[in-house]
């Protein structure tokens, strides 16, 4: 199995997004597994700030030289911030998916929804089961 990095303290979705609660802000991006599988990312389509999303809604898409994938909201809430750097520098997702490659900040309606997501260990198992 290839080497992936899944930091502790983040919550992970089955669709390979990560979410990090910072006070009442939920920062969202895609995981190391997702960015490695997609390969070189060339375009990230994100919604406007102010959009309300339901958990599981498609909120954007990400395009690599291989494929286009949808982005799904890991929790319900209002998108209050969108990473402005990704428009010109989509490679940030490949270079630093948990840092500068973040995608949106959601003001979650109900932070308890995060309990439905996986922790790093559970997500690593989820990835492993798909690598077989």
């Amino acid at each position: 199995m290839a080497e992936y990095e899944f930091p502790e303290g983040l919550r992970y979705s089955e669709e390979d997004e990560w979410a990090r609660l910072e006070g009442d802000r939920l920062v969202v991006g895609i995981t190391d597994y997702a960015q490695q599988k997609l390969g070189d990312i060339v375009f990230v389509e994100l919604p406007e700030a102010g959009t309300h999303v339901e958990k599981g809604d498609r909120f954007g898409s990400i395009e690599s030289v291989k494929a286009v994938a949808d982005l799904f909201a890991p929790a319900s809430g209002e998108i209050i911030e969108v990473n402005p750097d990704l428009e010109d520098h989509p490679e940030l997702v490949n270079e630093d998916c948990y840092g500068d490659g973040w995608m949106v900040v959601i003001a979650p309606d109900d932070p308890a929804e995060l309990d439905d997501l996986m922790d790093a260990a559970a997500y690593a198992k989820h990835v492993e089961s798909r690598e077989d």
Binding site: K37, D40, E63, V65, K66, A67
Partner: protein, 508 residues
């Protein structure tokens, strides 16, 4: 040091052209025309047209002679890969040979010189051909009516979903969800979304097929349609198509059939008989019209009678009874979704498709499907074991492999595709369908001989062997092309879409 020609006489390697951008051929004052001296009074353009219609500066256009232009584009044309040069195994695209006979038919002066604004009385030949082509497509697909209007498969698909929406709206039903299996064509969700539908993806089973219980579980009173591709993008025939259509119909929905893979079914199975209500035809795939580089296409759309009131206008109608004999364009469809194309549609493609259908006949069309399926299965059987086969089973007109057995060599699907160019082949479709990681999708079509298939199989096997013995060579490919491997990532991230003068744009 002199480098003499490698071969003299009957040479095949002596001429290979480089060609700059047309802008780089530009020289100030060079022209491709000459005008006689002005022999009428000169007027100021601003006085004649108004100042707002006149440019203040002339855009930086290339200044070239006629021979410059002809050589430029002719040289570029020699860089093309084409089905006229070799096997073009692009999966899902049905790159079959385009018979020259089609071209001869389309070039007949009566067709080539016809004007779209000529009255019906002077266009009877073309109208009759359109009426016949509609009937042929209806017969082949098992549907009742066909419109030849749409200009491409995607527009036929859009028209089909627009008719489904019009049908539900006319019945006073508000349905806003469309079901699409993960093995359907990529354009399907776009067509549904353009019509304001929410798209729900249905997962195909471990056998690569859509299962009735999956459809039943997703069905509801808000479902407008199921969009299905059969054979699906894995090249597999959806064996549960009949019960699936029944579930959708019972729930009040309609079934859209993506016609892109019709080549596998010609003369053997008819989508209309299987439960499909509406489908499009890709004349450039199944019916051997050219795959234009964005040039004229044709994507007729066929329907069952329940959808006929919504067909795009105009529809060709044969006169009957007191009306006399002949054909007219009929606009009298009050529930029509409207016009999709100017005039008659892309008539040149219709002539070619008609010529193809009539020259092959029913037996010949069936033979196309049989040979296309046989060829795909032959390639699959030669490549199985060397390349991973993600979904086993008898394939139809195309087969899907993956790079899984090359894991550990560092060589991926992309590298295999690039290396095939060195062997003289346009690469297959790669990384599609999305349900297969590292997919390699091969559609040889019926056009290839056994020897041609063997040569391609040998190339695929040789590349896999190289992946083990000399992976760097594969990863560096293509190396025999004019330009070595291009940086596709940079091209996508930082596209240079316009020529810009480097420094002073004109030579002194």
């Amino acid at each position: 040091m002199s480098r003499g020609p490698e071969k003299v006489g009957n040479t095949t390697r002596g001429i290979a052209y480089e060609e700059p951008l047309l802008f780089e051929r530009s020289r100030p004052g060079r022209r491709g025309f000459a005008l006689p001296p002005l022999d009428v009074p000169e007027v100021e353009p601003e006085a004649l047209l108004g100042a707002e219609a006149c440019r203040e500066t002339i855009p930086d256009l290339p200044e070239v002679s006629e021979v410059d232009v002809v050589r430029h584009f002719t040289r570029l044309s020699t860089w093309n890969a084409a089905v006229d040069l070799g096997l073009y195994p692009l999966g899902s695209c049905t790159m079959k040979y385009n018979p020259r006979q089609n071209e001869a038919a389309a070039a007949l002066p009566g067709f080539a010189g016809a004007h779209p604004l000529a009255p019906a009385s002077l266009s009877q030949g073309i109208l009759q051909l359109m009426a016949e082509l509609e009937r042929h497509l209806a017969e082949i697909s098992g549907l009742d009516r066909v419109s030849l209007q749409p200009a491409a498969g995607a527009q036929g698909e859009l028209a089909g979903i627009m008719m489904i929406r019009a049908y539900h709206r006319h019945r006073g039903e508000s349905r806003d969800r469309v079901l699409i299996p993960d093995s359907a064509h990529g354009t399907n969700p776009a067509s549904a979304a353009l019509n304001g539908y929410r798209v729900q993806t249905l997962e195909s089973g471990p056998d690569g097929l859509l299962h009735p219980e999956t459809v039943a579980a997703a069905m509801g009173p808000d479902v407008a349609a199921l969009m299905i591709t059969n054979p699906n993008t894995l090249g597999l025939f959806e064996t549960h198509i009949e019960p699936i259509c029944e579930i959708v119909h019972t729930g009040g929905g309609l079934v859209y059939g993506d016609g892109a893979n019709l080549n596998a079914l010609l003369g053997i199975a008819r989508p209309g008989d299987l439960g499909i209500d509406v489908m499009h035809f890709n004349l450039h795939k199944t019916f051997s019209t050219p795959h234009g580089g964005g040039g004229p296409g044709a994507g007729p759309v066929g329907v069952k009678n329940i959808l006929a009131p919504y067909l795009p206008v105009p529809v060709v109608r044969e006169l009957a009874g007191d009306e006399g004999e002949g054909f007219v364009l009929d606009y009298d469809f009050p529930h029509s979704i409207g016009r999709l194309h100017a005039h008659h549609g892309n008539v040149g493609m219709m002539i070619r498709a008609w010529a193809y259908i009539r020259s092959l006949g029913a037996e010949g069309l069936r033979r196309c499907a049989e040979m296309a399926v046989l060829n795909a299965n032959y390639l699959l059987s030669r490549l199985r074991g060397t390349y991973h086969v993600p979904y086993e089973g008898r394939v139809m007109h195309e087969c899907v492999l993956s790079d899984r057995l090359l894991q550990g060599t560092g060589v991926t699907t992309l590298d295999v595709a690039k290396r095939l160019i060195d062997y003289g082949y346009h690469p297959p479709t790669i990384y599609f369908p999305l349900v297969v990681q590292g997919a390699i999708m091969i559609e040889p079509t019926e056009s290839e001989s056994l020897e041609g298939l063997d040569r391609f199989a040998e190339a695929m096997l040789a590349v896999a062997e190289e992946a083990r013995t000399d992976p760097e060579r594969v990863r560096a490919a293509p190396t025999r092309t004019r330009l070595a491997r291009l940086d596709e990532t940079r091209a996508a991230r930082r596209p240079v879409l316009r020529w810009q003068p480097a420094g002073p744009s004109k030579r002194p």
